[in-house]
Symmetry: C2
Subunit: 635 residues, 2 copies
């Protein structure tokens, strides 16, 4: 509520707004929407208007109007997320029902399995291409660029929101064959809705507001929080996505809005009958009395390093394919027909996952959600497989007669990684976080099952290791791999929030830290950095990671043509600092023959140095943007 | 590991450092400690030196030396925290044993009960006063000021660390009579050790490093994490303590160091035999199948608002007593003899908590840790009190024969709040967070027991509310009250990390958010703000909260005597922004007759505006500090 006094301009709740015109009766500011002269039922209108004005004053007395906007954002995104999950589940159920009905007819089953996702993806690709080409992909790289202060209105349009939502629906409805998630697009959808909310409130109040990134930062937190009902990791994600500096004035709004979103999302689950009460999405039942042996910490650390290494390999493949799609002439020609290309790739993937073919070795009948649930199962598979009934239950999906369980997991991992790399080239709105999370879980499960199998047979280090839980390894692996690929730590907390159990937080955090450490070493670009560079987005932190030589380029060098105005050699470290620290800024660039040496400037990383010398140059914010865009295009 | 390339200067691990001199064999930088000419056994020396150099190179090859420093910081603080807990438990056990031995002799028991804490506190006060007067109090306000970029070397000295540690030991050993905690002092101790570590590494490497706040920010996170073994809330605390901007380059080190600290702290608990494995400090057993009914959310929200209101009352009392101790002549005279004053106040408090007197109504035989454990008990007291054996167990402490259980809780709350306000005037190193956490737990328990009692008797809203857990209300109340008093949200996560159960995170977060909202409304200063203002610390955010008129003061107004140099009327909002955003900065203040109008400057909240006009003024960082100190003293 601290913001209330700092930002006197008030925003308005979406739910009771359309008729409201004035901020206060005394205020002379009139909204443009009420300047229409003729009204059909003037009296009713004024009664409603008075009532709404009173309501607004009542609401405003409790707290600033922006808090209602934050709440609206959280609640609406949670509603969208719930609707998405609900309808996708129905679509997947329909395919499964049809597939079941065609039992016995191999050809029809094959066509149902392959054409269903292929058609959906072709539809999504064509639709997005024709309505709004900017709606494809994850959206997080674009959000990061916008949060760094660069305007990208095309990425915030309502058309984009509409096409992204529908496209994402088709992608998710294609199921675990395409194996893509929804986190990234939801963060993007959330920022689009936040921008719309911000604009609408300004318009209704008749106030010309300066553009700020306030709502966008909050939206990033809400996107994650409403996707999983996980408020704290949402806020941590919004801290991480800022890239350089996080302003504390966003902290409380982020938490507030994320909590609203998470609470609403979980309430919808209760009301829809999915759950009896508000609880975690992938609730686990790991025993909390003895969650793990202290010595297991070493194994978790090893898992973290392993995930870090796998993450690096994956990122390398991803960068390679991004480059390949841009340079290979055949690929470029194929990608001109986006619908056809998508259909072709998805058909190929579906052939591989068709249960009577290789699909039987990688549990392809599971949906992504079922996959994760099965991987996080607290029981030990290898010991359970002797039990006939459980064996039956598992054998349906994981434990085929021909292939032992562990080999099946390894095969799943190997196949899915390159299939995911291929799926990343699809021009669809899709998230790439959840697939990595599931792959990490599979890797962790593999190690966990191995450990449990080895240690349950004898006494190791003087202990009977009879309560090793492979599910915990799966959870740690999930957090570590997804953290390594995205260079973030919030997956560790997300793993805790998704399962609702905190007893294993410490080993999960350790694994994520080590995986991150390995993945970040040597200035390697993250998954999002690679996309930023590939899409030529003007995002300096990504550029610096990918091309360290930029750090040596000076502003004067870039702006040689403007050398009359710019004589100071400011390092890009400063430029980056300036760019990210402030949204709207005028940067005077001072003569290099001033009172202080330039060396000290660069060391201190100050914004600029000026003595009583004359000011000879002026570098505006728009100029800065041009430089950044030029930099992005150069490389 | 990303920092490695950004900061080429390497730090060294404390454990294998004393003999190491050179950064690399090629480096010409020689440490001053190795310039001694004569050495007794030159050969052995050089062998050891070579070995250590090789070791350092090996370590340096894995990751940058600063990571070893972060790990050392975390591990050492966890060790100190564990030692503190261990020895305090022994001291409290000794008192309890003595008190038990004197059973039957009322006078001796009274003397044992009252003189033991009184002597300890007198000792602590005298000791701190004579060794280092800066070691009293919490330390968090001072840490915030230092993190804002203001040098306070006296608060980072080794003497201070020594006296703070011993003083805190005495305070905690005085037990629940004094009822003070250890979080704040541990944050301060952590920053002191971090500064020492930083200096030592620089000295050994012979590098003159620029002073940065890197280690201090990490230390703030480690302080909290090592206190409770709670890494995530430690990092969130370090984000919150920054006041205005959080630099993302601290994020990964904070997590790393906090995880090291938390892991070590929990491992010590395992090794000492307290716990079988690494787990939460106050492990609870709330059922996770049906953690709470959806409609209970309303009650949690109510609890949050209630805690917010109580927090405001407490803060008002605290501000009043701070003012009173400064202005009342009698009090000022009393406080000159700090040892005597402490002994007197603690004797008075001990008389009140003496079990045969009013102490029997407020469970005064419990230590602070036992108090919290009993309040978080997952069973419902009111229903248990019919069970004879449990009744016996509880009646010893909470459920006296004369007073019903709920009345006893209410009495505890009423008495402890004003006793805590009084205890805050003691000139001792002590934390004020944990007492608020326990008081909040008591308040939550009171509401929870009431709710459970009312709802268990019948059907409300069509539900049989037979599984309402008062312990969950206690946890939510604890987070909400401590969050409201300190204006932070990290207690919500701390509550989760302390108990190791995530199933109730959403209602706890909701209660904390609402309590914070209420406590922050109207720009009220937080607990730490009040101390900052009382101690005249140059901390602008606190000053702005306490004296909103500062926002209207212009820099030109403050610096009237320097008006030749400063003609621009820059609002303090900008000044604050500049002060906190950068550690070392030169701010040119530009002529007010320039290209752009000043109005637009203030609206845009840009750092400054400059066109091609001449630069007429220069405001240095040291000047800025002077202004801030003057501001602090003025009010």
């Amino acid at each position: 509520m601290k913001q209330l006094e700092e930002l006197p301009e008030r925003k308005r709740d979406q739910h009771e707004n359309v008729q409201e015109s004035e901020k206060q009766p005394l205020s002379s500011v009139k909204s443009s929407v009420f300047l229409v002269q003729w009204k059909p039922c003037r009296e009713t209108h004024s009664t409603v208007k008075d009532f709404l004005l009173k309501l607004q004053r009542c609401l405003g007395a409790v707290c600033g109007m922006q808090w209602y906007a934050y709440a609206t954002l959280g609640i609406t995104m949670a509603l969208l997320s719930f609707l998405m999950d609900f309808s996708v589940a129905k679509m997947l159920g329909a395919q499964q029902w049809l597939y079941g009905q065609l039992e016995g007819n191999f050809l029809l089953q094959f066509l149902c399995w392959t054409l269903y996702p292929a058609c959906l993806c072709a539809l999504a690709a064509t639709f997005c291409q024709s309505i709004c080409p900017f709606s494809t992909g994850s959206g997080i790289p674009e959000v990061r660029t916008m949060l760094a202060g660069i305007d990208m209105p095309l990425y915030l349009s309502l058309t984009n929101m509409f096409s992204k939502f529908l496209g994402l629906f088709c992608t998710l409805a294609a199921g675990s064959t395409v194996f893509l998630g929804k986190v990234g697009p939801f963060v993007h959808l959330s920022t689009m809705f936040a921008a719309y909310l911000d604009n609408m409130f300004s318009l209704l109040q008749g106030i010309k507001k300066e553009k700020t990134s306030d709502m966008l930062v909050v939206a990033a937190a809400v996107g994650v929080a409403s996707c999983f009902g996980a408020p704290v990791s949402g806020v941590l994600f919004s801290v991480e996505v800022m890239g350089s500096h996080y302003s504390l004035r966003h902290y409380f709004p982020c938490f507030f809005s994320a909590a609203c979103g998470a609470l609403t999302f979980r309430f919808f689950s209760v009301w829809s009958g999915d759950m009896e009460t508000v609880q975690a999405l992938f609730k686990t039942n790991f025993p909390s009395a003895l969650p793990f042996y202290p010595l297991e910490i070493v194994l978790f650390a090893f898992l973290g390093l392993l995930c870090g290494a796998v993450g690096c390999c994956y990122l390398f493949c991803h960068r390679w394919i991004l480059q390949f799609t841009k340079t290979n002439p055949l690929f470029i020609r194929m990608q001109t027909e986006k619908g056809l290309y998508s259909a072709g790739v998805v058909f190929f993937l579906a052939c591989l996952t068709f249960p009577p073919s290789t699909g039987q070795y990688m549990a392809s009948e599971y949906t992504t959600k079922e996959l994760l649930t099965s991987l996080l199962d607290c029981r030990q598979w290898s010991s359970l497989s002797h039990n006939a009934s459980v064996h039956q239950e598992l054998s349906l999906k994981w434990n085929t007669s021909e292939m032992p369980l562990l080999l099946s997991l390894a095969f799943f991992l190997l196949m899915k990684i390159w299939m995911l790399v291929l799926a990343c080239t699809l021009p669809l709105p899709a998230g790439y976080f959840m697939p990595m999370f599931v792959l990490g879980a599979a890797g962790g499960r593999l190690l966990g099952e191995g450990v449990a199998h080895v240690f349950s047979t004898g006494v190791v280090f003087g202990h009977h290791w009879d309560s090793v839980y492979p599910g915990v390894y799966a959870l740690a692996g999930a957090a570590a791999l997804s953290g390594a690929v995205t260079h973030t730590l919030s997956p560790a907390l997300l793993a805790v929030e998704l399962t609702g159990q905190f007893s294993h937080a410490v080993p999960i955090l350790l694994a994520t830290l080590l995986a991150n450490g390995l993945a970040r070493s040597g200035n390697r670009p993250s998954f999002y950095d690679a996309i930023s560079i590939n899409k030529k987005l003007p995002h300096l932190p990504s550029l610096v990671k990918a091309y360290p030589q930029i750090s040596l380029t000076t502003v004067a060098h870039i702006l040689e043509k403007d050398s009359v105005q710019l004589q100071k050699a400011a390092g890009p470290e400063e430029v980056r600092h300036i760019v990210v620290a402030s949204v709207q800024l005028q940067i005077p660039v001072v003569d290099s023959e001033g009172a202080y040496s330039m060396m000290s400037v660069l060391e201190l990383q100050t914004l600029f140095v000026a003595d009583k010398g004359k000011l000879v140059g002026c570098l505006t914010w728009s100029k800065m943007k041009e430089i950044l865009q030029a930099l992005a295009k150069e490389n």
